[in-house]
């Protein structure tokens, strides 16, 4: 088990290196191939009407005139050991892990990510609890009475939930419950400062996001339960004289849970890399919003940073899922 985790962790690091290399290539190599000179590249990192000195400074800092592999090495070295950026008037010491420096905002990327991560985690975690509970319960009840009125209406709502985009449901919820009825706030407050206001602001984003996801989980649970409830071991459990509730939960749901765990891990990993649309719709200062801002500003270092962070979460969650798999299903051998 331990050796399996170590091996998987090493593989994860290699995977992350590949992701960085590809991302790095997209931002630094492709423009070069497309015929942009280092000067033009450097100009993109500065605001409007760049002065020649600024361009020279950026070029030197990013090593834009050096070969690509050296630039990449610089970037990786920065993550592990930190880096120094000369911004013209002052020199910035970017401590490890240095994910780059935004010359447009004159600020390091990593502290920005750290600042925004709690928002994204709050959003993802709250929504995950909601959609997991509601989706699985709905799916189980639907599967126990397939074709019933509950099943049909639940699956109808599920279809609507999957089909309606966040920028529709989110906006609608905001308009109704926040602007009209004024039940929920719109300003994000950290949990540590005011838990009730934190929950109050996040409630609508949680529900909107959960509606989207619980629809998928309800359908997934339903089909899984329909299958497992026909298994022979369910008949055995009943033959023992177990009550129907125990049969459903302990024997049926337990077996149907495996694919749900897999999908759940992937979804959480993706969300932690930034729920872009949700954060934009509800103006939550999370990773996703940071990414959108960076893209709008054509600010490459933050984009690179967010990409890496997102990749990290996806890889991490996948590792956790694989290890969980072995605990959920004893037939899976980790080797």
């Amino acid at each position: 088990m331990i050796s399996y985790i170590i091996r998987r962790a090493i593989a994860a690091v290699v995977l992350l290196l590949v992701v960085t290399a590809v991302t790095f290539g997209i931002f630094f190599v492709l423009p070069k191939l497309a015929g942009q000179t280092p000067d033009q590249l450097a100009a993109q990192y500065i605001g409007k009407s760049p002065s020649p000195e600024d361009i020279a400074a950026v070029k030197a800092n990013l090593g834009l005139d050096k070969p690509v592999y050296e630039q990449y090495w610089q970037f990786i070295k920065g993550i592990v050991a930190g880096a120094t950026y000369n911004t013209g008037p002052t020199t910035v010491q970017c401590d490890m892990p240095c994910f780059g420096y935004s010359f447009k905002q004159h600020i390091e990327v990593w502290p920005q990510l750290v600042d925004r991560l709690p928002v994204t985690i709050s959003l993802a975690a709250g929504a995950a609890v909601l959609w997991l509970v509601s989706g699985v319960i709905t799916g189980v009840i639907s599967a126990l009475k397939p074709g019933s009125i509950f099943d049909r209406s639940a699956m109808g709502v599920a279809l609507a939930g999957v089909s309606l985009p966040m920028f529709f449901t989110g906006q609608l919820a905001l308009l109704l419950f926040s602007y009209q009825l004024e039940i929920f706030g719109r300003t994000y407050v950290p949990f540590t400062e005011n838990p009730s206001q934190w929950a109050n602001t996040l409630f609508l984003p949680w529900c909107s996001l959960a509606l989207l996801y619980s629809a998928i989980y309800a359908r997934l649970t339903r089909s899984g339960m329909l299958e497992t409830m026909n298994e022979d071991f369910i008949r055995t459990a009943r033959a023992k004289g177990l009550g129907e509730r125990k049969v459903v939960v302990k024997h049926g749901l337990r077996a149907a849970l495996t694919p749900i765990v897999t999908v759940f891990g992937m979804d959480i990993g993706l969300l932690l890399g930034g729920a872009v649309i949700t954060e934009s719709v509800f103006s939550l200062p999370g990773i996703g919003q940071y990414a959108v801002q960076a893209i709008t500003d054509n600010d490459l270092p933050p984009i690179l940073g967010v990409t890496l962070l997102a990749a990290f979460f996806v890889v991490l969650c996948n590792l956790v899922v694989d290890v969980l798999y072995a605990t959920v299903d004893p037939r899976v051998r980790l080797s």
Binding site: L144, D232, F233, A237, R238, G241, A255, D329, P330
Partner: protein, 365 residues
């Protein structure tokens, strides 16, 4: 045990009305189990009656779809559970130790399940939950009916695993089903069924999924355990060879009905129904020349949706054309006593049957 001494070895007695007052330990009367489907009403079991006393073994034999498994599930009340069970139509009576089960409260039947009546299933790999240890599943079966701490139940599980012949039961109790061999799994399944000392044990094709060498071991085990526990046992199989040694009585099912039943010797040496002849002819025998071919029963089992009126076996019966007096084809044959505790449902006259058996069937067997 008193029941047994009262009625002696009479495991199969007369059809319904004669013994209306006295009830056998397991007394099934005119059981009908029908499943409404989009294509029509599936009459899986259509008027089945039999009796079984403690300490006795009844073999129920028939092809797939003859209703033998549905019968066993009906006794345990299992076919009514789950999404599909809601609209099952069931009538008749099932008496177990003086309690009627067909009309009983489902929760009452649930409390009997696993404690007074238990079941061994066909494929132990799929019949055991893959995510729980064997011990865990036996402990669960015990604790449903006994309010004891886990430790006590675990001791009981180890004890039973030992009893059914699993080596190192102390260790194996913590193994998962997939870590067992097929025979071991079936032994564990038997241990699970016996953990509450049930008085009725139903084994639904207990050896079908096993190697031939293991089959004999499992049958021996069931026989030994029956002697030890004194329970009534029903063995369901499509293989007459399985029940030849172990059963006291045999009930042959066809198309949801009983076509012949009687003591095992009568069924093997003086069978009266053409379908039973067919089953005997299709059974490999060690005393037969290897060059002889097995004789299959021609045709396929009847659809249970549109059961032919009259004798269900008629379309496949090689002796359908034997004159039967003034009986029409649409008349359904009822069970008639043809010997001591031996019943058959065939329109043919006794002389015709005896003649065909002696002159045509025996030489070919």
């Amino acid at each position: 045990m008193t029941d047994q001494t009262k009625t002696g070895a009479a495991a199969v007695s007369e059809p319904v009305p004669a013994s209306a007052d006295h009830k056998a330990f397991l007394d099934v009367r005119d059981l009908r189990v029908h499943f409404p489907t989009d294509d029509g009403l599936v009459k899986s079991v259509d008027g089945l009656s039999f009796q079984l006393e403690k300490g006795q073994t009844l073999g129920i034999v028939g092809e797939s779809g003859s209703g033998k498994s549905v019968t066993s599930l009906a006794i345990l009340g299992l076919h009514r559970l789950g999404a599909r069970g809601k609209n099952v139509q069931m009538s008749g009576e099932i008496w177990l130790d003086g309690k009627e089960l067909v009309g009983a409260d489902p929760d009452e039947v649930r409390r009997l399940r696993g404690r007074e009546m238990a079941m061994i299933f066909q494929d132990p790999l799929s019949a055991m939950h893959p995510y729980y240890t064997v011990g865990n599943q036996i402990v669960e079966a015990y604790r449903v009916h006994h309010d004891v701490p886990k430790k006590t139940a675990r001791k009981r599980a180890v004890e039973l695993l030992d009893r059914v012949g699993i080596p190192e039961p102390n260790k194996r109790v913590d193994s998962y089903p997939h870590e067992f061999s097929g025979g071991m799994r079936q032994r564990a399944m038997i241990a699970m069924a016996l953990v509450n000392n049930p008085e009725l044990l139903i084994a639904d094709e207990p050896t079908t999924a096993l190697d031939v060498t293991v089959q004999a071991q499992i049958l021996d085990l069931i026989r030994d355990l029956q002697k030890e526990f004194g329970s009534a046992v029903i063995i369901i199989t499509h293989d007459l060879g399985v029940v030849a040694e172990i059963a006291d009585d045999i009930l042959v099912m066809y198309g949801g009905r009983c076509v012949e039943r009687g003591p095992v010797d009568r069924i093997f040496y003086e069978p009266q129904h053409p379908y039973t002849w067919g089953l005997l002819g299709s059974m490999p025998r060690i005393d037969r020349e290897q060059t002889d071919r097995l004789i299959p029963v021609k045709g396929s089992p009847p659809s249970l949706i549109n059961v032919p009126s009259g004798c269900a076996f008629n379309p496949r019966c090689p002796y359908a054309d034997v004159p039967k007096g003034n009986i029409t084809r649409t008349e359904r044959p009822e069970l008639r006593e043809v010997g001591s505790r031996h019943f058959t449902a065939c329109h043919m006259a006794q002389e015709d049957r005896t003649r065909i058996w002696n002159e045509e069937i025996v030489p070919k067997l």
